[in-house]
Amino acid sequence: MTQHEDSLGGATPPRPASSGAPFLQVRELRVHFPTDDGVVKSVDDLSFSVDRGKTLGIVGESGSGKSVTSLSIMGLHKAGTARISGEILLDGQNLVGMAPDRVRQLRGKRMAMIFQDPLSAMHPFYTVGSQIVEAYRIHNKVTKAVARKHAVDLLDRVGIPNPKSRVDDYPHQFSGGMRQRAMIAMALSCDPELLIADEPTTALDVTVQAQILDLIRDLQAEFNSAVIIITHDLGVVAELADDIMVMYAGRAVEYSSAPDIFNSPQHPYTWGLLGSMPRLDRERTERLQPIKGTPPSLINVPEGCPFNPRCAYAGTNGDLSFTLRPEFRDVGGGHHIACHLGAEDRLRIWETEIRPKL
């Protein structure tokens, strides 16, 4: 940390990539939870990757498996609750099936997570400072005094006022926004190579949100980390992400570069998301266009395409949408979608029906 002290947004040379392969590669990940009502297929055949220095934004319906995916990467599902298969390669090492001890050693330094709920990540009985100190000393053989100074520096960097005295506060003495920032300080304490931020700003006000997003951006520029940002807020991903993955019912339905997703989205669910959201950067529309219906059950996922009960185009290709699960495939230039619509139909619908209304 000390050597980077003054380099917020500065010109520290990026960490060299160790090889050509992506830093994180997820392949055919499945995470299923057996419950009394049946098997909850929270994540079902999901593949994606993130390079060093890049940011992947994951957006999608509530319950579509975003948090479950990130907890799987971090190895944080309670033993015995989840059935996990597939591969999660972190710098080439497969985390699926790795002994919990070894995964624990990777947490903090190689990968870290900012949780959706800051209270769940901080222990109420220990001071904020002592929790950061502890996280730091797992990976750095330094004295308590040095680690404490590091904790104060971090709190200062995430914008906690009077960090020298606030370092001894307990989590409940912080406001919601400050707790979120303290958790971010903790997650960043060892300059993680992969940072997963799960709704890092949802509970925060826009002015604080902007501070946090700046912080994530700066730290990534400084340490060349791979970042995954999970959010409902399409504005947040538009600002931060290089690539975007859209999830629905435990699967990826669309994946491409961020400009592509916003300028030429090709999946009906993504169209729905973009259309249902009021936008400050456009003329005010008289009427929002919601996606009809409700999110699907993950126990009895609809046959064929999981989005078919809510999709206006489900009948376009005969009954394919109702019978056959659409394959997640490259439709050109790395733009992936899972939908039966043909290229011409997609282009026509986007150009004539969707884009004019956005």
């Binding site: 826009v206 002015t207 501070q211 997003l213 504005g235 916003f262 973009l274 959201m277 400050l280 950067d281």
Partner: protein
């Protein structure tokens, strides 16, 4: 510009003042020690003056803890103000006893912030929506059950949902149940506290549209509490921006979003993330530093001065009054923005250099 204030609300032909708050104040006492002596007060709401016109939607926005919910609870008389007055339809309701208030409860209803916590999990949907009829001893033409089923249909649920329990519904459906309950007694005013912020984006739009339809159908007046500034622009006729228990700016929607005058509003608007990758690099943002100060010891003078980039010595000593700077547009600032005829690119959000 003067026409704008008229088109916003008065278009509905209904524009007279319905709900008027004058110097409204709520200080929560802080008590300590054995004798529970008062050692201070949370100045949650500290002198609000505004009117809500019949048929319009007025939104209250501002950061967490600025007093939005407290204002909503004061307006619906769920809590007692420590100062100021509230009139509803010309009648002073500030200190009505709960008995005297009962008939008025029909006129002013609240939708609560949390769609999960506000529905009793042990009651059926029928019992929940029917409760207002029973509490108010209202006679219904075809019985309470029929009235409830009509309400369910009105909010887009099925009459068959009558015997189901809240946990069997999704977040959006639960919010509809909450809305059906508030509609039961055909209120004039609905105070809706963050009615869509707990909902998924795809469901948010359904509920926003439903509320708009109901407003048109029943000439409802809404006081909407929200923090998503994009949603607020969509739903509001007028917007009040609050900070630490005070109104910083209040104006019709178009003036507020196109010509914000208070630096705090300008900062808020410039911080909204815009879902457009092409403007990532060319937006100029105003970054506020630090947290909102405590409402127990609010800053002297202008409450925003500890975070304001325009603050001068005057701001620390003298509180700026909320005054009308152009037709229908009030702001409380010694050095307001956008007061000249200068216009901003309406799509650029405030503070944009583009």
């Amino acid at each position: 510009m003067s026409t704008k204030t008229e088109t916003g609300a008065a278009n509905r032909r209904l524009g007279e003042d319905l709900l008027v708050a004058t110097d409204l104040q709520k200080h929560f006492p802080i008590r300590r020690g054995l004798l529970q002596r008062q050692v201070g007060a949370v100045q949650a709401v500290d002198g609000l003056t505004f009117t809500v016109k019949r048929g319009e939607t007025l939104s209250l926005v501002g950061e967490s803890g600025c007093g939005k919910t407290t204002t909503g609870r004061l307006l619906t008389r769920l809590i007692e103000p420590t100062g100021g007055t509230i009139t509803l339809d010309g009648r002073d309701i500030t200190h009505l006893s709960s008995g005297a208030m009962r008939p008025l409860r029909r006129d002013i209803q609240m939708i609560f912030q949390d769609p999960y916590g506000s529905l009793n999990p042990r009651h059926t949907v029928g019992a929940i929506i029917g409760a207002p009829f029973r509490l108010q001893k209202v006679k219904t033409e075809h019985g309470v059950k029929r009235a409830v089923q009509d309400l369910l249909e009105l909010v887009g649920l099925s009459p068959e949902h009558y015997n189901r329990y809240p946990h069997e519904f999704s977040g959006g459906q639960r919010q509809r149940i909450g809305i059906a309950r508030t509609l039961a007694l055909r209120p004039k005013v609905i105070v809706a506290d963050e009615p869509v912020s707990a909902l998924d984006v795809s469901i948010q739009a359904q509920v926003v549209n439903l509320m708009e339809d109901l407003q048109n159908e029943f000439d409802l007046t809404y006081v909407m509490i929200a923090h998503d500034l994009s949603v607020v622009r969509h739903v509001s006729d007028r917007v009040a921006v609050m900070y630490l228990g005070k109104i910083m700016e209040i104006a019709d929607r178009t003036s507020l979003y196109e010509r914000p005058m208070h630096p705090y509003t300008v900062a808020l608007l410039s911080a909204v993330p815009i879902p457009d990758t092409s403007r990532r690099d060319n937006r100029e943002r105003i970054r506020l530093t630090g947290d909102v100060p405590s409402p127990i010891n609010p800053p002297s003078g202008c409450r925003f001065h500890t975070r304001c980039w325009k603050a001068q010595d005057l701001c620390k000593t003298t509180e700026p009054p909320l005054v009308e700077l152009s037709a229908g547009h009030q702001a409380a600032c010694h050095f307001p923005e956008n007061t000249t005829k200068l216009t901003i690119d309406p799509t650029g959000a405030a503070g944009s250099a583009a």
